[in-house]
């Protein structure tokens, strides 16, 4: 593998792990994993929804009902505008982001290693399995949310009020002179505010997942290239195990929290867009 060639091993290993499977600049691995997870999500929920019974539900239906109720509760508490899209959107975001994050839980070498082992050219066999550790994925989702925010703003306020608010909020003033004086800072603030949302939304998730993945890779470096004939290997093996265990266990919380934050912020942003200033 790449380790032998690049010397030191570690750098090559890390570089290899952070390299996307690319076709014409498209990160095929991120897209494939995301599509696969989305399909799984849709098929699972559709099956359960189709078999849903008004009587005593099965365990899976129960679980999904609890999930739906949890998200619905969040939306009801936060979002007061009109919009039947918000709750399903929030549920989809939560589940999908969670599942994509969950790919980080799998042993960091499992799928890439398997892919390398099966590939005819192991050195070029790049695979990253955590779509949310790819800025393209998170930015894409955040941009979709951004567009929805604008749509909800226009839908709830009308075009005139929506664009009027660019100049009249957050600073209010009496008189023509004051209004004109406030217009420029208002516009600037609004543009920054709008631009910051998708950026922060995507970077937060991406940073957490990328950092998490990187730490898994670094932990994996402890026994990288180790030989069972070396005494050091027997010291490093339990250390790696413990470190990996702790980080994985901790990461369970991180991935859930990040999925929840992404969902919650989406609801909050949409709710703010639907409100008059």
């Amino acid at each position: 593998m790449a380790t032998e060639e690049t010397g030191g091993g570690m750098t090559g290993y890390i570089k290899h792990h952070l390299h996307h499977m690319e076709v014409n600049g498209l990160h095929v691995d991120s897209i494939a994993v995301k599509v696969a997870l989305a399909l799984f999500f849709v098929v699972l929920f559709l099956r359960v929804a189709r078999r849903a019974t008004a009587g005593v539900p099965g365990k899976l239906q129960c679980f999904i009902e609890m999930l739906v109720e949890f998200v619905d509760q969040m939306v009801k508490e936060t979002f007061h505008g009109r919009g039947r899209l918000v709750a399903p959107l929030a549920l989809t975001i939560f589940c999908l982001v969670f599942m994509m994050n969950f790919m980080d839980m799998l042993p960091v070498d499992l799928l890439p290693g398997a892919y390398q082992a099966l590939s005819a050219h192991p050195h070029e066999a790049y695979l990253r399995v955590v779509p949310t550790a790819d800025l393209n994925t998170t930015l894409g989702m955040a941009f979709t949310v951004f567009l929805l925010i604008q749509y909800y703003g226009i839908k709830h306020k009308g075009l005139a009020t929506f664009f009027g608010e660019f100049l009249t909020a957050p600073f209010h003033a009496e008189g023509v002179v004051g209004k004109i004086a406030c217009a420029v800072p208002n516009l600037l603030l609004r543009l920054i505010e709008e631009a910051v949302r998708p950026v922060s939304l995507s970077l937060r998730l991406f940073g957490n997942m990328y950092g998490g993945e990187l730490i898994f890779i670094l932990i994996a470096c402890m026994t990288l290239g180790a030989s069972l004939s070396s005494g050091l290997t027997y010291v490093m093996m339990p250390v790696q195990f413990v470190a990996d265990f702790i980080w994985t266990a901790f990461h369970v919380l991180v991935i859930t929290l990040q999925a929840f934050i992404f969902m919650m912020l989406t609801i909050v942003y949409l709710s703010m867009a639907a409100e008059h200033h």
Binding site: M1, P57, K59, A220, G225, A226, M237, T248
Partner: protein, 163 residues
């Protein structure tokens, strides 16, 4: 290349976390799910029971109404019979009373007519004696001709009755 050891340890750590989740997280989720299932089942059972109770109560109410209706019919029937009996009794009493009154009246009439007849007879006898004495121009001894007078009176009486 010895990614093997690394991967094995990663796998072990993964299963350790999976075990952790299975031991401490999973039971909580399962118990929440089971509690929810139980709640739903209980709720449905309670609803069924409520429905059944309602049906029972309705049936019971219908039964009671039916019974009451029968009883009312019986009471009305009884009352009718009683009133009929009363009317009959009253009718009986009244007709007996009427008979009695009629009988009493008849008795009175009979007594009165007998007395009147007696008086009439005496008067007829007196008139006959008086008439005879005027015809004869002398006194007729009523006592001497009592027998004759008596027969005459009886004849008049018979004539009156025949008329």
């Amino acid at each position: 290349m010895n990614i093997g050891i690394t991967l094995v340890i990663q796998g072990l750590a993964f299963f350790a976390v999976a075990w952790l989740v299975m031991t401490f997280g999973w039971p909580n989720i399962m118990s929440a799910i089971e509690e929810r299932q139980k709640k739903i089942a209980d709720g449905l059972a309670a609803a069924d029971r409520g429905q059944k109770d309602l049906d029972d109560a309705k049936a019971q109410a219908a039964e009671i109404v039916k019974e009451a209706r029968v009883k009312a019919a019986q009471v009305i029937d009884q009352a009718n019979r009683r009133s009929n009996a009363l009317v009959d009794e009253a009718k009986g009493t009244a007709s007996a009373e009427a008979d009695r009154v009629v009988a009493a009246a008849r008795d009175t009439i009979a007594i009165d007519s007998a007395r009147a007849r007696g008086e009439l007879r005496t008067e007829v006898a007196a008139l006959a004696v008086q008439g005879a004495s005027q015809l004869l121009g002398r006194e007729v001894n009523a006592a001497a001709h009592a027998d004759l007078l008596e027969r005459l009176a009886a004849q008049i009486e018979q004539g009156a009755v025949a008329k």
